[in-house]
């Protein structure tokens, strides 16, 4: 048999065959005219998406001889609808019924290692890998069928997993794979794509996971029930870095149902037969434990000065080494923007189930990264990685690095203390609020200038931030590993470099601005533990940058939308801006007192989805309360596999960002974190959500997938801030835009 690696066909070659749905060249090189057989490539090409790390076809797709098809992804369903979208891609490219495909998600024993499900990269990584793998597999099947039937591939088409010749001869995928190995490398340019004729990709298919979730089927790791399963709860220190000085566990051990009190250094937990028994034992342990010492936190009001005094690594990440001075005659604008710590605040506190038996540890977790989590847990428990299996099951939406991995580590420690019985641990609300890693507090200072002609003559932007990723991989990044005796130390955090960026994500303007200069001050020391929260630094940077664009537009007396369009060259960027503005009715908007409109745009990471937001709101003069009315977003995610899924993400991101922007701030003082529940950390409730949210998806068939999940966070925040400034005539630069702050601003 010819090796498949040699069967490479270039896309150009394939397209020469014409644009029909099922025109294929024979897959075997001997059927190709000599001059079209691929020559040796000078350099090995980087394979698309996650194929670059997992190039084997059978890592992604398996077909059994009974015709059943399983697709594997190392990414996890997080409520973003990835299960449905990835299945659509496979179904389209394989030309099989959507419902026939089984999709297996992140499991260290079964799926490829795709790192973290983060950064809105599932479609770019996994989607692209599956697109190419499935397209290649279909070509292989046609090639096999051509040989089996002795006909030309041009004579064959696929109907729901069956290759059919024009004479009506058939071979099913199941028959064709029988006795053959799919353990072959997927070549670059593996497929033949004809987006004009897609019937599954591009459709807003209903999400496959929703009916089960809405009728109470087992859908989340929280719902997992295993034979003999017992329940655990943890007790955390009184405040970060406090030491467990004294504890008598004898009373707790006698409580009904209690099976084990687990104590290891400053780590404390309890396992009981029943869940409520575990909660009562946890409460008893909490009152019995005496803690001493612990980090002394500054007051939350002083955090920005505190952060700016800490050692920082300062780098000019964009533009000239030295700042450009504003020329004479230009209007100079200076602004300082702040953003407090904000939390993921998952509605379901973190949960995991661990089972330790015969030296094997299995963890069911809503982690975003089963492989890195496995590495960390193996290191923490001093086990061989091969003896640890981490299986993803859904949790409540996480929006980044929340308590999931730490809860998985809890399950590991607790299950090891009670071998043979599956142990389910769930955090209480205060654990989630007080111990999840937060989105970093940040400061941005900008100085810019503009001429009356509207020309921007200088732009000097500086951002101060704590880390935006302290995810496990190293055990020291797991909270429980920091608490056990022989504590693991957290790894020295690093910043994610541009172009994606971490602290500086979206700090570089997407506009053409001569001599724009961007400096990042990366502060590694964390007064409060921080990590990835949906969109990382982009939320703050887009808030600041797009607020500042409005400030400059105002100084130059130019309409903010016009001001943006004047320095946007990318036609796709211009498209989302004009689509959002037109859909909102920007140009014939009617002003009335207390009413404002705001606009903002960003391309997420300057390389993923494009998103623009226009909205209007009312500010109540007496209370300072902001009420968002109509919000409109436009988005370009490249080829839209499931437009309604994109709308859901953009709309959800916009509403979530509105909650961050209007309400959210982690409260703390010398005694620790004071935001211990939803009363201490209010988020948006129904009466405050926008009146309407409309999302316009600009589809780009055939274009690469662009990550969408975090695209609207930044633009929504800036559009709100801009609309508030428009409504009250005063700019508020400190988040959140709470009523008190709005009232104070109006008095000035």
């Amino acid at each position: 048999m010819t090796t498949l690696g040699q069967m490479e066909l270039s896309r150009r070659t394939l397209l020469k065959g014409g644009g029909g749905l099922v025109l294929y060249f024979a897959i075997s090189p001997r059927r190709l005219p000599a001059q079209e057989a691929p020559g040796p490539t000078a350099e090995p090409q980087q394979l698309p998406g996650s194929l670059s790390d997992s190039p084997f076809l059978d890592s992604w797709i398996r077909i059994e001889s009974d015709g059943s098809i399983t697709v594997f992804t190392g990414k996890a369903e997080l409520g973003q609808g990835i299960r449905t979208a990835l299945t659509q891609i496979a179904a389209e490219q394989l030309r099989v019924e959507f419902s026939r495909i089984e999709l297996v998600t992140a499991d260290t024993a079964r799926t490829p290692d795709e790192g973290y499900t983060a950064g809105s990269q599932s479609m770019q990584h996994s989607g692209t890998a599956i697109l190419h793998a499935a397209a290649y597999l279909r070509r292989m099947m046609i090639g096999f069928a051509a040989e089996a039937l002795g006909v030309s591939a041009n004579d064959l088409k696929v109907e729901d997993g069956v290759v059919v010749s024009s004479a009506g001869d058939k071979r099913s995928y199941g028959q064709l794979v029988s006795g053959r190995s799919l353990h072959v490398t997927v070549p670059d340019q593996a497929g033949f794509f004809d987006p004009e004729n897609y019937t599954v990709m591009g459709q807003s298919l209903p999400r496959v996971d929703i009916p089960a979730k809405l009728t109470g089927q087992q859908s989340y790791v929280h719902d997992l029930k295993l034979d003999g399963m017992v329940h655990a709860r943890v007790v955390r220190p009184a405040k970060p870095s406090a030491r467990l000085a004294n504890l008598d566990t004898s009373e707790v051990e006698k409580m009904p149902g209690v099976l084990r009190v687990v104590r290891d250094g400053n780590y404390l937990g309890v396992i009981a037969e029943g869940e409520f028994q575990a909660i009562k034992a946890m409460q008893a342990l909490q009152s019995a434990a005496q803690w001493e010492g612990g980090a002394s936190l500054p007051a939350d009001a002083d955090i920005y000065e505190h952060l700016m005094r800490l050692p920082a690594v300062s780098t000019v990440v964009h533009g000239p080494e030295t700042p450009t001075s504003p020329p004479g005659g230009a209007r100079i604008v200076e602004a300082t923007y702040t953003r407090p710590y904000q939390m993921h605040g998952s509605i379901g506190p973190s949960c995991a189930v661990g089972h330790f038996q015969n030296g094997q540890l299995t963890i069911w977790s809503h982690t975003q990264g089963v492989y890195p989590d496995r590495t960390a847990i193996a290191e923490m428990t001093n086990m061989d990685e091969q003896a640890v299996r981490v299986i993803h099951m859904e949790g409540a939406g996480c929006y980044g690095h929340n308590g999931a991995d730490d809860a998985a580590a809890d399950a590991a420690l607790l299950a090891r203390a009670l071998p043979g019985r599956p142990v389910r641990v769930q955090w209480m609300r205060d654990h989630e609020h007080q111990w999840e890693p937060y989105g970093s507090a940040m400061v941005v200072k900008v100085q810019g200038s503009v001429l009356v002609t509207g020309e921007i003559t200088s732009w000097n932007y500086e951002v101060w931030s704590n880390p935006h990723t302290t995810r496990p991989g190293p055990a020291g990044n797991l909270l429980p590993a920091q608490l056990i005796s022989g504590a693991f130390q957290p790894e020295a955090p690093t910043n994610i470099p541009l172009p994606a960026g971490g602290a500086d994500r979206n700090a570089v303007p997407g506009y053409s601005i001569a001599n724009a200069r961007v400096v990042e001050h990366f502060i590694a020391e964390m007064p409060l533990r921080t990590s990835a929260l949906r969109s990382l630094g982009a939320y703050m940077n887009v808030f600041a940058l797009e607020s500042f664009m409005d400030e400059l537009a105002f100084a130059a007396s130019v309409d903010p939308v016009e001001f943006r369009l004047a320095r946007l060259e990318d036609p796709r960027a211009r498209d989302v801006v004009t689509t959002a503005a037109d859909a909102f009715g920007w140009n014939d908007w009617a002003r009335r007192p207390g009413h404002g409109r705001g606009f903002a745009y960003a391309r997420y990471k300057n390389l993923a989805a494009y998103c623009a937001v226009a909205l209007e709101l009312d500010v109540d003069r007496a209370t300072g309360r902001i009420r968002i009315g109509r919000a409109v977003a436009a988005c370009d995610s490249g080829h839209a596999v499931n437009p309604d899924g994109i709308r859901n993400q953009i709309e959800g991101g916009l509403v979530q960002s509105a909650s961050w922007t209007l309400f959210e701030q982690v409260r703390f003082d010398g005694d620790g974190i004071q935001s211990a529940d939803w009363a201490g950390y209010p988020i948006m409730r129904f009466p405050s959500v926008p009146e309407t949210v409309g999302v316009h998806v600009i589809d780009r068939p055939g274009e690469p997938f662009l990550g969408t999940g975090e695209a609207s966070q930044g633009p929504a925040a800036a559009a709100i801030a801009n609309a508030v400034a428009d409504a009250i005539g005063v700019r508020i630069r400190d988040l959140p835009l709470q009523p008190e702050r709005v009232r104070t601003a109006m008095q000035v």
Binding site: T215, G216, I347, M428, R429, D644, Q649, V655, W678, A679
Partner: protein, 163 residues
């Protein structure tokens, strides 16, 4: 021993009478619909109906519930035959992670059984105790409007055929 009536079935539990209903539903009766979110009455994820009124099952001890009529998400319909409110939520694709949605559905169901044609403000007020972190609010509102429309159509159809 405490006897509970859940979704029309009788269930006896030997759990401590102060155990909140939520844990009995989830762990003893394998009813996953009601979720733990805060245990404090702040988020509504655990909402079930007791005598048709929404309550926080995370705060309600089973001792208070003997012989009361308890309805959970599972009592409204099944995956093969979802109830009208569930169906409206599915049709509107009103979920992201979906964790908060069972509580939303229970609250919407309670509202619509009292008032089949609530306006937007009334719906928002009724759902106020329930938090959603994914920002699915707009879809949830659309789903409740859709369910309400369905109920009114049903009622008018029934009215026609009774005539």
């Amino acid at each position: 021993m405490i006897g509970l009536r859940v979704n029309g079935n009788r269930f006896e539990t030997e759990s401590d009478p102060e155990t909140p209903l939520l844990y009995v539903l989830r762990n003893e009766m394998q009813l996953n619909g009601a979720k733990f979110g805060c245990g404090l009455g702040q988020c509504g994820s655990c909402t079930v109906l007791v005598d048709n009124r929404p309550v926080f099952s995370c705060l309600t001890p089973i001792a208070m519930l003997a012989e009361r009529e308890i309805t959970t998400l599972e009592g409204l319909g099944s995956i093969d035959n979802p109830g009208p409110v569930q169906r409206a939520f599915i049709e509107e694709q009103a979920a992201q992670c979906g964790y908060c949605i069972p509580g939303m559905i229970m609250r919407a169901h309670a509202l619509l059984s009292e008032n089949s044609a609530p306006d937007e403000a009334i719906i928002r007020e009724a759902l106020e105790p329930s938090l959603c972190r994914c920002g699915t609010h707009m879809r949830i509102l659309r789903a409740v409007h859709r369910a309400s429309k369905g109920l009114q159509e049903q009622a008018s159809a029934a009215g026609e055929s009774n005539r």
